[in-house]
């Protein structure tokens, strides 16, 4: 067993069983803000207990261990083929150990071979950089919340949304309304304004690599993020859609260039069981540092 394989199995274990600190903090704050004695408060209490129990037992936080998405930042000359092969073996091993559920189905035959490996599974995104650092981030993205994601094409007559920031605001809030609690809220939104149908969703998901508390360096987008967070939390949808004060824990928005002919707003929804972790690997592929 190679060191890289060990490191990746450990990355998967920790991602599946332990929620990152920033998310846990946001959940605790929401619990304190919720009205005492409400079903929203008790939902948060169960969520909090679940987070503790999963960590303590080193078991998946949620049984849907989601789509497995790796983001790798690597130096020039990095062997991507070996990395990807090792990642696939690590996923199979982590599944055997129970860190991941047997969660990947052949779309044509409906068969689940129990390995979590197949066409498009897991997904690995590589990005070269000039530094010598190897940075591997992992996201486990659940199905229930993926199902409430949405892509809008502006203008939208129905929502009276034009091709401007106010139009973006309208469709993003519509996505929150339509999702209600079905994506296991409170959720986090990742949004991309622009791009094409594929890159729009792609970039929207990458927003989940940002921490809950970070602020957008672009002032216009930052203002939109804060506005949507505040407005969504005034709607009273609450955890699980039970009604309550916290509908969203965070909103993260980016923009990508678009064609003059199209204007997409792509919205990904992440459930409270927000599983993301990352590591810096040493030259020997040992875990040097945890990222979140």
């Amino acid at each position: 067993m190679s060191d890289l394989q060990d490191s990746l199995v450990e990355l998967i274990r920790r991602t599946s069983a332990e929620i990152p600190d920033d998310v846990q903090k946001a959940i605790l704050t929401s619990l304190e803000n919720e009205k005492k004695g409400t079903i929203a408060e008790s939902a948060f209490k169960i969520i909090e207990a679940n987070i503790k129990l999963a960590k303590q037992k080193s078991q998946p936080i949620c049984q849907d261990t989601g789509s497995i998405i790796f983001y790798v930042e690597c130096p020039v000359g990095f062997d991507q083929i070996t990395f990807e092969e090792t990642a696939r073996t690590a996923v199979t091993l982590a599944t055997k150990k129970g860190y991941l559920r047997q969660n990947s189905v052949d779309s044509l035959t409906g068969k689940n071979d129990g390995t979590n490996v197949g066409p498009g599974a897991p997904t690995v995104h590589f990005h070269q950089h000039r530094s010598s650092e190897i940075k591997v981030s992992l996201m486990l993205k659940g199905g229930g919340c993926e199902n409430v994601g949405a892509q809008y094409s502006l203008p939208s007559e129905k929502l009276k949304a034009n091709r401007d920031l106010d139009g973006c605001r309208k469709v993003i809030l519509d996505a929150v309304l339509q999702a209600q609690g079905k994506g296991c809220g409170p959720g986090i939104l990742g949004v991309c304004i622009g791009g094409d149908r594929a890159t729009g969703y792609e970039y929207s998901k990458q927003q989940f690599l940002r921490t809950i508390e970070d602020r957008n360096p672009n002032q216009e987008l930052d203002a939109l993020e804060q506005d949507i967070l505040k407005t969504a939390n005034e709607l009273g949808i609450g955890p699980m859609g039970f009604g309550g004060k916290t509908t969203l824990l965070g909103v993260k928005i980016c923009a990508a260039n678009r064609l003059p002919a199209s204007f997409f707003v792509s919205i990904s929804y992440m459930c409270w069981a927000y599983r993301r972790q990352g590591v810096i690997l040493s030259n020997e592929s040992k875990i040097e540092k945890w990222l979140y």
Binding site: S42, P60, G236, C271
Partner: protein, 191 residues
């Protein structure tokens, strides 16, 4: 907090209202897509299983065999219920269910069956796989394991203080509809 023990009488179900927190002790039967489709198409329950005055749980649990060969549930959160909407009303009627546990809520046909036959929809906390697994004290039996595979089988589970919230009662009330309408109105004020 209301405590319910299975089997449950119609009277107890009729007393429940949207928004009530409930803890269940007794027996739950899991059932998801395959079981619902099968029963809807006229399939019969295996011998020894009765849903009468009982509860079905939309869940595909992760179950392992421990060293002594006993089944043990290691994760057991709810799955999205709306997929069973085409079948649920019929199954409530035919098999006498008093409760359906899942997540995300269901539609008008289930709501109508709740009202007509005295049943409620109970919402468990989505994602709380570990907390809910802790409430499962033992696996009494499993049916259709070969036929449907583990997640789709009927698992007969003994539970203690299993926490849920009534989100669709037997009087036509739906918390999902209520929250949707209110949030839609609130949003309209802010656009």
């Amino acid at each position: 907090m209301t405590h319910l023990t299975t089997p449950i009488t119609e009277e107890k179900i009729r007393a429940l209202k949207v928004g009530d927190a409930v803890e269940i002790t007794g027996t739950l039967f899991t059932g998801r897509d395959a079981v619902h489709k099968y029963l809807h198409e006229g399939g019969t329950l295996p011998e020894g299983v009765s849903f009468k005055d009982g509860i079905i749980y939309h869940c595909g649990p992760v179950v392992i065999k421990d060293e002594e060969g006993k089944w043990k549930v290691t994760a057991a959160g709810p799955t999205t219920s709306i997929r069973e909407e085409p079948y649920q009303g019929h199954i409530i009627k035919e098999f006498g269910l008093r409760g359906v546990i899942g997540k995300g809520g269901m539609g008008d046909r289930t709501l109508a069956a709740n009202k007509e036959f005295g049943c409620v929809y109970l919402h468990a906390i989505g994602g709380a796989a570990q907390v809910l697994a802790e409430c499962i004290k033992s696996v009494r039996n499993v049916y259709f394991l070969e036929k449907f595979g583990s997640p789709e089988a009927i698992w007969e589970l003994e539970v203690e203080n299993f926490p849920v919230v009534v989100t669709m009662d037997s009087h036509g009330g739906s918390l999902h509809q209520e929250v949707f309408n209110n949030s839609q109105a609130e949003l309209a004020k802010r656009l």
